[in-house]
């Protein structure tokens, strides 16, 4: 379910390395929690981000959710398709609906993130808590 070559954060973002770029998005768990996505607010190309810093918002009908940089870097690309088709975040959160691509400041930070197995265990725990 969760791609094994991605890394994941507790705030439900994922990172996929593409050479010296890190593609970043929100996970399937996050899009499901949010509901129908209607709007995405993104940073400008060139913005420098620190790991843990908020870089934008993903909005559903009911909620506004901040998104946090999993790793540090400089914004190299933002996904141009999301302005007109924000719902693609619900449909393909791990693929077509990546949010931004960062020029990685340091690959050492990746080691701090969860792998797919750890993330799946993490959300399984969350679901247990929620239904308790």
């Amino acid at each position: 379910m969760y791609p094994t070559d991605y890394r994941y954060t507790k705030e439900h973002e994922w990172v996929r390395i593409e050479g010296d770029l890190a593609a970043i998005g929100i996970t399937d768990y996050a899009q499901h929690e949010l509901g129908d996505v209607v709007y995405v607010e993104m940073p400008r190309v060139g913005t420098k981000l620190k790991a843990g810093e908020s870089f934008g918002t993903v909005e559903s009908v009911k909620a506004v959710s901040d998104i946090y940089a999993p790793v540090s870097g400089e914004v190299a690309e933002i996904n141009p398709t999301l302005a007109d088709a924000p719902e693609s975040i619900n449909k393909d959160p791990h693929g077509k609906a990546w949010l931004i691509k960062l020029k990685l400041a340091s690959s050492a930070e990746l080691a701090q993130l969860m792998d797919a197995k750890a993330y799946e265990a993490y959300i399984a725990d969350k679901e247990k808590e929620a239904s308790a």
Partner: protein, 350 residues
């Protein structure tokens, strides 16, 4: 049923099933089924039931025929809202008030505190479950399960009948801006009627709908929500609900204050707006005047799934409230433009 649940005023409620957008659109194009059993019911009975109802509400319940309902306000002596509600006249000396879930006990205590009338108020919430079927296909779906003449029930009229053998009060009312029915019946039949209605409506596209769609539907229809557009600081005139305020019906709580305010005028009024830029105004966002100072607050703000716009309601200075006028709304670091529009945003084709 795969619903996302939330705690709403002590009730475990579904926010959405398949998704707010699809539920909302289904209600406008086919039909939606809403479990609204959390709503409160207060029965008022006795020789002076009408007098009691008239005293605590602002609309004229004396105009109601048997089997007729009206939208009204439960008033404070300042002319502001304890709650908004539907008043149903069952018969002389017998009224059923449908009130907000979160205000049930407050409303009951309030009505009961006006004890000088020969009438009994009963907090009847536990005796009623409520389901709403709303949408252009609602009539056909409910008719499948009843022999009662609901096709000839006019808007805001109700009758006592049976839904698949279950005794129910069937009202042609709703909180969506669509045609439809609200059904009141004994709680032990809830599961059966829920399933029966889903089954009866399946071929017509009836879907279960949660609180999320309930909110976006009523907002598009320009309907108020207590705690947002209405509370004990908002007067009937400020809320733009003058049409439910009958100053000449006789004395009622708040009448003097409302008369005085009518004379002196109001400084703020509830208005509808449409965002002119892509950002979405949310509940509580400040509305800014021409100098960038806070002049009001958004009471309800959301995307409108059917109209495909971002809309909301806000209290604005009267001088800024004319449709066509623009204001700015503070949303995070931005101040996008919103245009005042007449309410309702959506009106169903008749």
């Amino acid at each position: 049923m795969g619903a996302k649940m939330v705690n709403f005023g002590g009730w475990d409620m579904p926010v959405e099933y398949a998704g707010i957008v699809s539920e909302h659109i289904a209600t406008r194009t086919a039909a939606g089924l809403f479990d609204v059993s959390h709503m409160g019911e207060i029965e008022v009975r006795g020789p002076q039931a009408l007098d009691l109802v008239q005293f605590v509400t602002c609309n004229d319940a004396g105009k109601l025929a048997d089997g007729q309902a009206q939208y009204s306000g439960l008033m404070t002596s300042a002319g502001t809202f304890v709650d908004d509600l539907l008043v149903h006249k069952i018969s002389d000396g017998h009224y059923l008030l449908c009130v907000n879930a979160s205000n049930q006990d407050k409303d009951f205590d309030y009505i009961r505190s006006h004890g000088r009338f020969t009438a009994q108020a009963e907090n009847a919430g536990e005796r009623y479950s409520q389901l709403a079927v709303q949408g252009p296909k609602a009539l056909g779906i409910v008719q499948r399960l009843t022999r009662a003449p609901i096709a000839s029930l006019k808007y805001y009229r109700f009758l006592a009948g049976e839904i698949d053998g279950v005794r129910a009060l069937i009202a042609r009312t709703g909180y969506t801006g669509e045609d439809g029915f609200e059904l009141y019946f004994a709680p032990e039949h809830s599961e059966k009627l829920w399933n029966d209605l889903l089954e009866a409506g399946r071929a017509e596209g009836l879907v279960p709908c949660g609180l999320g769609a309930r909110n976006t539907l009523r907002l598009e229809a320009g309907m108020c929500l207590y705690g947002h557009e209405l509370d004990d600081t908002t007067s009937v005139w400020e809320a733009n609900l003058g049409w439910i305020c009958k100053l000449d019906k006789g004395d009622f709580l708040g009448r003097d204050a409302l008369r005085a305010q009518k004379q002196s005028g109001i400084s703020r009024i509830l208005a509808g707006f449409e965002m002119q830029e892509r950002l979405i105004a949310r509940d509580g966002c400040p509305v800014l005047d021409a100098h960038g100072k806070e002049a009001g607050r958004v009471t309800s703000g959301s995307p409108a799934p059917f109209l495909k716009k971002n809309i909301g309601m806000a209290y604005v200075p009267v001088e800024s409230s004319a449709p066509g006028n623009t204001v700015r709304i503070a949303i995070r670091a931005h101040e996008p433009v919103a245009r005042i529009v007449p309410l309702p945003f959506y009106k169903r084709a008749r």
